[in-house]
Amino acid sequence: MHIIKHRFRGKKMAPAFNAFHTFLFTPDETTHSGGHVRAVDDLKRTMNTVIMALIPVLIFSFFNTGYQYYAAIDAANGVPRTVDLFGNFLTWENFWLGFTQVMPLVVVSYAVGLIVEFIFAVIKGHEVEEGYLVTGMLVPLIVPVDTPLWMLAVAVVFGVVIGKEVFGGTGMNILNPALTIRAFLFFAYPTWMSGDKVWVHQAVDRAGTPDAISGETILGSLAQNASYDYSVSDMFFGFIPGSVGETSAFLILIGGLFLIFSKIASWRIMLSAVIGALVMGLIFNGVVAQGWIGETSSFYGLMSFEFWKHLIVGGLAFGIVYMATDPVTGSQTNRGKWIYGFFIGFISVMIRVFNPAYPEGVFLAILLMNVFAPTIDHYVIQGNVKRRLKRLKTATILPKTTDGIAQELQAETA
């Protein structure tokens, strides 16, 4: 590897080989001039920390994919299952089925995304940036398990090129690339991304046959005012159908705490997003409690859903922890982060309730707030500037206590 690296130094393909080298070994080069920033974490370390926080979610998704599949078959045969962690959840059978279904998504996401990154790095002649590492892991976790691989590949190319590279690569993008990919899939292939069939493996293939199995998410059932039979602990630990990695609020919580502890993600965004979601949920609960909305309304199911449960179903927890906290596309200022996070939670729940076409509105809410993040930052910064100018003004007026001197000074300067 070293030899290859030195042979290609200065050549056009150099960035491609350098990237492999940096990935496998610690770089041996040191900067010789200019300013140095000494820090423990570089971009690669930051990205790896987020991936570490995602690993439990990924492993859980293997088991859950398998479990949901076999549970749905059992349910179709008239034998509803209850979760037994060691009895029927953490089994080799579940793991293997999930592994064979989820791993191809991960591999395709990384392969296609990194190829695009490499091509752009070679064309533009800069080093390959690590930005795709996290995106590549997030993408397979936020799509339904049966997403066709070619679809994923097309979406990844779109997301990386239009969402990121046209802005100049890692750290320059406006919208979160993983969410851009998700949104592309959602609007380009809606049948594969929403509905009641896509969330469990093979449910689409089996629809209409005697072997048909159901795979409705909780939010999907609620949007149709139907009932669901999952307990709160099922929701919290994630034994429910949903996108590959979004189901387990418990593991996401652990990942989130880890990210906060390692200071990679902003606790302000997470906290304010949770508050925002709770506030909106409370408002809707209040509306139902006041009797302003009847049971016949199509919003009743989601509106009467207890406000705190919004946090543990669907992708809200996953979005808040791993995607809203993206340091590039979120607000940069501390006060901005509060506003930004609050609106993410607020709008997510609002879309869930009011927009029956998308029972899962989290990714759209985050995209929308990504759009407005620079505006929020602008006004926060302007506010700070104004406040400081004011402070400056009051500070210069201070000599007024000794009026005579001030007048003398004025006379002199005049």
Binding site: K124, V166, F167, M172, F187, I347, N355, P374, T375
Partner: protein, 266 residues
């Protein structure tokens, strides 16, 4: 009151002038380099829309519509002057823009200077004429609603230009590939922002539960949830925020936009 809230929310977010119907793009693209200027222009658009839509509503009700002239006498009841709408609407708009220009020049010369040619150009801003024509096409029933519609469409446009101005200030530090710099990247951003605004597309109504109930009867949620290609396609066409459409559109328009840019400079 309920229909006011609904219309207000709808025209700001769901039928956003920029992201849903792509109107008013010229000044949106040209004056969005700085937030302060964008705010000035946005405010002017809100004002002009808020004045012209109700004025044109009056014109439409008492002059242009079929049977609008009944107040002159029975023999005029069959007159239909709606073929004159374009001329009369644009005349009203031009007059109002002149008024705004005079007022802004008198009271805020700095804003007047920074807006430059684009203040008189509001007169030919398609969002303004579009506002009046949509008002006519959607048969907005009362003057109050027309005022509401004008102002809220203006606010929607204002939000759009504000957001893109802030984004453009931010990406000044990005390494955008040279061929895309300027209007090219702005078109791409607009497309991506459209995806963000798509979150409201298909939302039955906002903020108001009773109105929501009424509409819910018309469109059962189950139909929407299924979202088969057949049911989905018309919606996507209507809002034209399908990401694929948009990027191709953006790419196609980027070419034309360069020539427009030159035109402005010369």
């Amino acid at each position: 009151m309920l229909e006011h809230v609904e219309l207000f929310f709808k025209s700001i977010f769901i039928d956003n002038m920029v992201f849903a119907v792509f109107l008013g793009m010229c000044s949106y693209l040209a004056v969005s380099k700085k937030v302060s200027t964008a705010v000035g222009l946005g405010a002017a658009v809100i004002f002009v829309l808020g004045v012209t839509v109700p004025l044109n509503w009056l014109l439409d009700q008492y002059l242009l519509q079929e049977g609008a002239l009944t107040w002159l006498g029975e023999e005029y009841a069959s007159y239909d002057l709606s073929f004159l709408s374009f001329i009369l609407f644009i005349a009203t708009i031009a007059t109002m823009v002149q008024l705004v220009e005079i007022v802004v020049e008198k009271f805020s010369p700095s804003l007047y200077n920074s807006l430059g040619i684009f203040l008189p150009l509001i007169a030919v801003n398609c969002a303004i004429l579009g506002g009046s024509l949509f008002m006519q096409a959607r048969e907005i029933p009362s003057l109050g609603l027309a005022v509401n519609y004008g102002i809220s469409s203006g606010i929607g446009w204002f939000l759009a230009i504000l957001a893109i101005a802030a984004i453009r200030e931010k990406i000044r530090y990005s390494k955008v590939p040279p061929p895309l710099r300027g209007l090219g990247i702005t078109f791409i951003i607009t497309g991506l922002m459209g995806i963000g605004f798509q979150s409201f597309g298909g939302m039955l109504t906002g903020g108001d539960e009773a109105a929501a109930e009424e509409q819910a009867v018309e469109v059962p949620a189950t139909q929407q949830v299924e979202a088969t290609p057949e049911t989905y396609a018309p919606e996507a066409d209507k809002t034209t925020t399908n990401p694929e459409d948009q990027t191709t559109k953006a790419a196609a328009e980027a070419g034309e936009a360069v020539s427009y840019n030159d035109l402005v400079k010369s």
